[in-house]
């Protein structure tokens, strides 16, 4: 080997070592949101999703924290035999939901996709992505690299100019400051004790119950025709977020292209107003899809909900509330969307873990 070739070989080898170092550092410093260290284990939700067998899920739940807390796929399986996964995570905006749906469809062929409506409305008017960057960022760090992630990253950084596209490829750029808070978990962790399956199937179970005032559900007769009278323009929390709605459009289009039914869901919360209800209802009707709002009296009662005992922090459902909504949704999906039960070994094997997990909450 002549000198020049040896030099080039050395440089390539050294460059490879640097790449490995960058990869290793990134893996260590990226935050881990696991069931062991947080109530909102989004890392577990996303990493475990990849553990599921391909084509093993018939219903996919996706959306913000309300979705994350309200749906217990294991509960639905245990009661109805329907296989589902909850890809809802805290602060998940609809751009994230859209790209995670795209990602999910690389591995799964769900019959129904259920999305929540929280992010159709303005949370932070001064934030390009309707939510602060960390909330969105953590949802992407555990997505596998593929064309979907490349497209997602490019799209997000196009919208939010303050973000660095490079920092998604080299996550240490974003997280290197975390060196001060590194713990054993950052170097060595498992997303599940039953490695190979997703025991929580994306559920974010919350046990506590916030003391709250009695809750009055929305009336049943809110009609789209009365939207002009109902919509309160002064209610800043019920303001449509056009960018988010455009991504809700994309979610629906993508599902329709793939022959997947879509359903919009709204969780029980006093923040859900008639304005939000009628705007979502209008939107759903415009796309010819169904909107299930658990704030409406009839549905609230059908599901057997009691907000005072079933809420976690006045915005999210606790385990009791989630069980009721999950139970209702299982039946509803079977009856109205023709989702049929099927036995799946992963769900069978995680039954015990789920019960045990809930018992120690």
């Amino acid at each position: 080997m002549n000198v020049r070739r040896w030099q080039i070989a050395k440089m390539c080898l050294f460059l490879m070592i640097l790449c490995i170092v960058m990869g290793a550092i990134s893996a260590v410093v990226v935050p881990k949101y696991l069931v062991e260290n947080t109530d909102w284990p989004s890392t577990s939700t996303f990493k475990q999703f990849y553990e599921m067998d391909e084509d093993s899920i018939d219903v996919l739940f996706i959306g913000s924290s309300s979705m994350a807390t309200d749906i217990m796929p294991q509960e639905i399986y245990d009661e109805y035999g329907i296989t589902s996964y909850n890809l809802g995570t805290t602060e998940q905006n609809l751009i994230v939901s859209y790209y995670w749906l795209k990602e999910a469809l690389r591995f799964q062929k769900p019959k129904v996709v259920v999305v929540d409506n929280q992010m159709m409305f303005t949370f932070y008017a001064d934030e390009e992505l309707n939510f602060k960057e960390p909330g969105q960022r953590k949802d992407f760090d555990y997505m596998k690299w593929s064309k979907v992630k490349v497209e997602a990253v490019h799209d997000i950084c196009r919208i939010d100019k303050s973000q660095s596209e490079l920092s998604y490829y080299l996550p240490f750029i974003r997280y290197h400051d975390r060196w001060k808070e590194l713990v054993k978990r950052d170097f060595k962790y498992e997303t599940t004790k039953l490695y190979g399956y997703a025991p929580l199937v994306g559920e974010t179970p919350l046990e506590d119950n916030a003391k709250s005032e009695p809750y009055t559900p929305l009336r049943d007769d809110i009609r789209i025709e009365d939207a002009a009278q109902i919509i309160d323009e002064t209610d800043v929390d019920s303001k449509r977020h056009e960018l988010m709605i455009s991504y809700m459009d994309k979610i629906i289009s993508l599902c329709k292209e793939q022959g997947i039914s879509v359903l919009i869901l709204s969780s029980v919360s006093p923040t859900e107003t008639e304005t939000r209800h009628v705007i979502t209802k209008q939107f759903a009707a415009g796309h010819g899809i169904e909107f299930l709002d658990f704030n409406v009296k009839q549905l609230y009662e059908q599901a057997g909900l009691d907000y005072v005992t079933d809420n976690y922090d006045r915005r999210h459902m606790n385990v009791e509330g989630a069980k009721k909504i999950s139970s209702f949704m299982g039946g509803y999906l079977m009856e109205h969307y023709g989702v049929t039960p099927r036995e799946h070994h992963a769900f069978e094997e995680t039954k015990g873990y789920f019960e045990e997990f809930l018992s120690r909450q």
Binding site: R4, Q7, F14, I17, L18, V21, M22, I25, V29, E133, S162, S164, L166, S167, F172, I173, R174, H176, D177, W179, K180
Partner: protein, 511 residues
Amino acid sequence: MSITSFEFFVMVALLVLVYYALPLRYRWVALLVGNGIFWYKGNSKAALVIMLAMGIVTYVLARLLEEKREQKGAKELVTVGVTLLAACMIVCRDLGFFVGNINGLCNLCHIPFQMPDVTIPSPMGISYFALIWIGYLLDVYWGVAHAEKNALKFALFCGYFPFMTSGPIISFRDSGAQITAGHQFDYEQFCFGLQRILWGLMKKLIISQRLAAYVDLVYGSYNTLVGTYVLLAMVLFVLQLYTDFSGCIDIVLGVSQLFGITLPENFDLPFLSKNLSEFWRRWHITLGGWLRDYILYPILKSDLFQTIGKKSKKKFGKKFGKKVPMWIGLLISWFLIGFWHGGGWNYILGDGLYFGILIILGEMLEPFTDKVIEKLRIRTETFGYRLFQYVRTFVLFTIGLSFFRAYGGFMEGLRIWKSALFEFSPWIFFDGSLIGAGLDAKDWNIVIVFMAVLAISGIIRYYTGEQIRVLVARQPIVFRWLLYVALFASVIVFGCYGIGYDAQSFIYQQF
């Protein structure tokens, strides 16, 4: 585009690939493209126009000077050129300073006149390239350099992108040919270049940025953080400035080395200087060299100063009198150094005249101090005495720099000193008060560890006379690579960059 940004390094990596892929005689074109990208990214359109206009004028005047060097009108041409470039630099950078002073003077004299505060777009790096271009015109005028005929090669030299943000202040006669020629790939130089970039990033991102957090906090609240907090901030500002500026120069020199270009050094262990004269020969070397070559020596050679010299010799005697024109020349040079650092009296006094006066006083009092040393039988060859000299130089430099850092002006500098002397509070080093003052305990540890690394490398260099990377290059490959990887990992983990840190501006960029 900051020279610590990923964007910059991606650009450099691509330029390196293109540079060495091109035939030798066309390699300079790759650097010219780099210039174009850098100018475009770093300037507003108006600033770009000003810069290009200045460049065209310099190019044309240099060509004319080359033709008319010995002829009538050459002196006028060079005077026009130098004045124009200096005026552009002053107007673009320091118009506010003059407006403020004129308005202040009018107020003082109760003259009902106020000039409007006008801001002219300032091209990136004007403080550096204006001096380089002035030097170029003078060199051509004096016949020590030839005017570059190729306009594109001239554009490459005069706007060579690595030096645009923080120097060094190069000369066409020393570096022009190097920059515009094509270079063969030299593996050793290339590796040294990469190592130097990494070393610079360590200084800038790990040390300087952290020190800035403490210094900015204290200088921003010197009314509440008083006494030793302020004294420590003054000392740490010197270290911050050194690691920032020399780190930047390391990156500039390292990037140039990747293309086979060796630019002059700008720092040479300045904190191991026995006196201020020596210090300024080791700190911002190229600025001192520029002022010596283009201001001080021409002044001393001028008829006026020759006359002053003769008269002073008559009046003060041969030994003392011959120094008088030199001291006047030094005061003018130091005034200009201060003014170049920024349009403000804090810069002119704190970073200019203060040092000039101290250096002149040192020379004037030298016979007296020599006698004192002799009488007290101080052994000047001992380590202890040398250490005293280093500390003395550092303290004197720190005092000057404390005004330099008082961005609010000279009067603020005085107020900061009042705060510093308000109380002596050494307990802050022991009772945990420093933790949380801009830096937490882990940050302080990082600063101490990497300052120690820097100090050790300096001491090794001082005693061996060799750069540490040359010594490391002689070690076995595994040990060497472990060191490089450790430094690389340290920079990417402990460096202050990305969201939450503003690593955009080098301190010297604003002058």
